[in-house]
C-alpha cells in the first residue's frame, strides 16, 4: 500500500510504473467485480447496457459516492462517521426551508446548507479532539442531534414545491451526464488530488497510520482532524442538497442508514477501518459496484432480498481478498 501511505519513495519512471501497478492491484477487486457484474447483467437484460440505464445509474451512484468521499478521509484517519445520513437530512431540510418558506435564492440556500454541514462536522471534530470522545461515539451523538433537529425543523413534515432551477441539479444534464453525477465527479477528483498529491492528504494518512508518530514529527493532529470532520460535514451537506433535488422533496428521514452504504463503499474500495489506507477512486468504485448491483438485479428480475445477501457477501469478500493480498506480498 505504498501508494497511499505517508512515506513515498522518490518518484522515478520505474517507481511510477510500479506505483501504477500497485494502484491497479489495490482497485482490483472492485474493478473486476464491476466488469463481471456488467457482463452478467448485460446478458440477462439487453437494456442494462443502454444510455438510459447508465444515466439512471449515474444519478443513483452520485449520492453514495459523495458520502463515500467524505467517509474515505475520515476512515483514513482511523475514524468513522456514522452521522452522515442524518446530517444529510438536516441539511436537506435547511436548504428546502430556506428556499420554499423564506424564499432565499437557491445558491444562497445551498451555501447556508453547506455551512450547517460544516458546523455539524466541526462539532464532531471538537468532541473528538477536545472532549476526547471516540469518533464512533461522537458521530453517534451527532446522528441523534442532526436527526432530532431535522425532525424539529418542520415538526416532521416533508417540504415540497422546490423551484425547477433547483430540481435541475438532478434532472439537467451536461454532455449527456446528469448534473448530480458531475457534482460527485468533480468533488471526487478534487478529493483524490488532495489525498494523493498534497501535504493535507499525506498528513491525513499519516495520522491514520500512527497518530502518535504524526504528532511527534510535528503535525498538528487536533487541528487536522477538525478540518477533516468539518469538510466531511460539508460533503454530507452537499449530498443532502443533491438528495432534495433528486427526490424533489426534503424529508427529515431522508438518508436514513446511508452512512452504512458509504462505509461499505470505502471498505469495498480497499480502505481500512484501522486507518492509513484508502483511495478516492477505490471508494468511488465501491459505490459504483453497489449501485450496479442494485440496478442490475432489478433489471434482471432478481429478488431484492437476494440482492441484499449478495451485497453482504461482496463487502466481506472484498476485505478478505484485501487481507489475502497483503499477506501474499
Amino acid at each position: 500500500m505504498n501508494d497511499s501511505s505517508a512515506v513515498r519513495p522518490a518518484s522515478s519512471p520505474k517507481g511510477a510504473q510500479l506505483n501504477l501497478l500497485r494502484y491497479l492491484r489495490q482497485l482490483g477487486f472492485a474493478l473486476i467485480s464491476i466488469i463481471v457484474l456488467v457482463v452478467i447483467f448485460s446478458l440477462l437484460n439487453g437494456r442494462f447496457f443502454s444510455y438510459a440505464n447508465w444515466y439512471h445509474i449515474a444519478q443513483q451512484v452520485s449520492m453514495i459516492a459523495l458520502l463515500a468521499v467524505g467517509q474515505t478521509f475520515v476512515v483514513a484517519t482511523a475514524g468513522i462517521d456514522i452521522s452522515q445520513g442524518s446530517v444529510l437530512a438536516l441539511t436537506a431540510m435547511t436548504c428546502a426551508i430556506l428556499i420554499v418558506t423564506f424564499h432565499w435564492p437557491v445558491l444562497l440556500a445551498i451555501l447556508a446548507a453547506l455551512l450547517v454541514g460544516a458546523a455539524a462536522g466541526w462539532l464532531v471534530g471538537f468532541s473528538i479532539v477536545r472532549l476526547n470522545v471516540p469518533p464512533f461515539i461522537a458521530t453517534l451523538g451527532m446522528l441523534a442531534i442532526a436527526l432530532g433537529l431535522a425532525l424539529l425543523s418542520t415538526d416532521g413534515t416533508p417540504i415540497f414545491g422546490l423551484p425547477q432551477s433547483f430540481l435541475n441539479i438532478s434532472e439537467g444534464r451536461f454532455l449527456g451526464i446528469p448534473h448530480m453525477a458531475w457534482i460527485a465527479l468533480v468533488v471526487a477528483v478534487i478529493a483524490a488530488f488532495v489525498l494523493n498529491k498534497t501535504r493535507f492528504g499525506r498528513y491525513t494518512l499519516a495520522i491514520g497510520s500512527n497518530a502518535e508518530s504524526a504528532r511527534r514529527v510535528g503535525i498538528n493532529v487536533s487541528a487536522h482532524l477538525l478540518w477533516i470532520y468539518s469538510l466531511a460535514g460539508v460533503v454530507s451537506a452537499l449530498t443532502g442538497v443533491v438528495y432534495v433535488a433528486y427526490t424533489s422533496a426534503a424529508q427529515p428521514t431522508a438518508g436514513n442508514n446511508y452512512e452504512l452504504y458509504s462505509i461499505a463503499a470505502v471498505v469495498i474500495g480497499g480502505g481500512s477501518l484501522f486507518g492509513g489506507v484508502g483511495t478516492i477512486l477505490g471508494s468511488f468504485l465501491g459505490a459504483l459496484l453497489m449501485t450496479v448491483l442494485k440496478n442490475g438485479t432489478q433489471l434482471a428480475g432478481i429478488s431484492p432480498y437476494v440482492e441484499e445477501v449478495i451485497l453482504g457477501v461482496v463487502v466481506i469478500g472484498a476485505v478478505y481478498i484485501d487481507n489475502l493480498r497483503r499477506r501474499l506480498r
Partner: protein
C-alpha cells in the same frame, strides 16, 4: 371560529362525498383476456418486509399466475427511502417492463418517474398510496378518510360514551395514507362535541418499538385518556402492547390486521380495527394493468372495500374473509 370550523367541515364533507361518487368498486373492473404475449409486471411497494405489502404481493401473484403474467417484486428496505423507490421506478422503466404497479412513498416525489413510465407507454396502476395529482392510469385504495371517520364514529359511540379524550399515533406524514387517516378520524370525531384530542398527532415512523414508547408516554402524560388510535398495523400494535403490559383501561382502535393485531382483538385489547383489502388491491391492480394494455377503459379511482373488525364480530364469516385479505391461510 366555530362558524369557520363548521364551514371547513362542510367543505370536507362535500369533498369526500364528491370523491366517493367518482370512485368505482372492484366489481366494476372489466375482466381482461389472457394475454397472448409474455408480459412482465413490476410491483413496487413502499417497503419490502411488512406483512401488509406482502399481502398485496400475494394478491398480485395470484392474479399474475391466473393470467400467465410474470410478476417481479421490488421495494426499498425502509418505507422512508424515497431515493431508493424513485430509482426503482426509473429502473423498471429502463428494464422495459410491460406495466408498473406502485404504492407511492410520497404523492409528489414519484410524479416524475411515473411520468417517464407513462411516456414510455408503460401503464402505471397505483395501489394503497397514490399520486397527487392522480396521473396514474388507475388508483386502487381504501377510502382512508371515510374508513377512519367510520372507525371514529364507532369508537365515539361504543367505546367512549360520546365524551372524553383520545390520542392519535400515526405512522408517518409523508404518504397519502399517513395524511388521510388522522384527518378522517378527526372528521368522524368532530360530530361529538364532548370529545377532544389530547396532545399532537404522534408519529411512530413505522416502528413498533417507537409506537410502544409513544403509547407509554401517553398513558403517563394523560391519566384521563380514554382511547388511543393507531393509524396502521405497527402504530396500533404499540398502544396495544403498552396497554396490555400496564393493565391500563385505555381503549385501543386501529387499522389493519397482522397476526399480532388479531391476537389483541381476540383478547379484547384492540376494540376495533379497520381491515382493508390488500390482497384485492394487488389482485385487481394486475387485472387493471391488463385491461389498460388491452385498450379497455378502467375507472380512474377505485375504492377497495373495508371491514370494521371488533372482538364481537371476530368469529363471523365476514371477519374471516376480511382477515384472509392479510393472511390468506388464516383460519378462525
Amino acid at each position: 371560529m366555530s362558524k369557520q370550523m363548521s364551514l371547513a367541515a362542510l367543505l370536507t364533507a362535500l369533498l369526500s362525498m364528491a370523491l366517493a361518487q367518482s370512485a368505482a368498486t372492484v366489481q366494476q373492473i372489466p375482466v381482461p383476456r389472457k394475454p397472448s404475449k409474455p408480459y412482465t409486471f413490476e410491483l413496487i411497494t413502499k417497503s419490502n418486509a411488512s406483512p401488509y405489502w406482502l399481502a398485496v404481493k400475494e394478491g398480485a401473484d395470484a392474479a399474475a399466475a391466473k393470467f400467465g403474467v410474470k410478476l417481479q417484486f421490488e421495494a426499498p428496505a425502509s418505507g422512508t427511502d424515497l431515493a431508493a423507490q424513485i430509482a426503482m421506478v426509473n429502473n423498471a422503466v429502463t428494464a422495459g417492463v410491460t406495466a408498473i404497479i406502485l404504492a407511492a412513498q410520497n404523492p409528489q416525489a414519484l410524479l416524475n418517474p411515473v411520468r417517464s413510465a407513462l411516456a414510455a407507454h408503460i401503464p402505471v396502476i397505483t395501489v394503497d398510496s397514490g399520486l397527487s395529482p392522480n396521473i396514474a392510469d388507475s388508483f386502487l385504495a381504501t377510502s382512508n378518510v371515510g374508513a377512519a371517520a367510520d372507525l371514529a364514529r364507532y369508537a365515539a359511540t361504543h367505546l367512549m360514551g360520546k365524551s372524553g379524550q383520545y390520542a392519535i399515533i400515526d405512522f408517518n406524514h409523508t404518504s397519502s395514507t399517513g395524511i388521510a387517516r388522522p384527518k378522517g378520524f378527526e372528521l368522524g370525531m368532530k360530530s361529538f362535541s364532548y370529545i377532544t384530542r389530547d396532545g399532537p398527532v404522534l408519529y411512530s415512523n413505522n416502528s413498533i418499538s417507537k409506537s410502544i414508547a409513544l403509547a407509554n408516554n401517553l398513558l403517563t402524560e394523560y391519566p384521563h385518556l380514554k382511547l388511543i388510535y393507531g393509524a396502521n398495523d405497527r402504530a396500533a400494535l404499540g398502544p396495544a402492547e403498552a396497554v396490555a403490559r400496564s393493565g391500563s383501561k385505555v381503549e385501543v382502535v386501529g387499522f389493519d390486521a397482522d397476526l399480532g393485531e388479531i391476537k389483541y382483538v381476540k383478547s379484547g385489547v384492540i376494540k376495533a380495527s379497520i381491515l382493508q383489502s390488500p390482497y384485492d388491491m394487488g389482485y385487481y391492480a394486475v387485472l387493471e394493468a391488463l385491461d389498460v394494455l388491452q385498450g379497455t377503459k378502467v375507472p380512474k379511482r377505485i375504492d377497495t372495500p373495508y371491514f370494521l373488525l371488533t372482538p364481537s364480530n371476530l368469529s363471523t364469516n365476514a371477519a374471516t374473509k376480511a382477515i384472509q385479505q392479510y393472511a390468506p391461510s388464516y383460519k378462525p
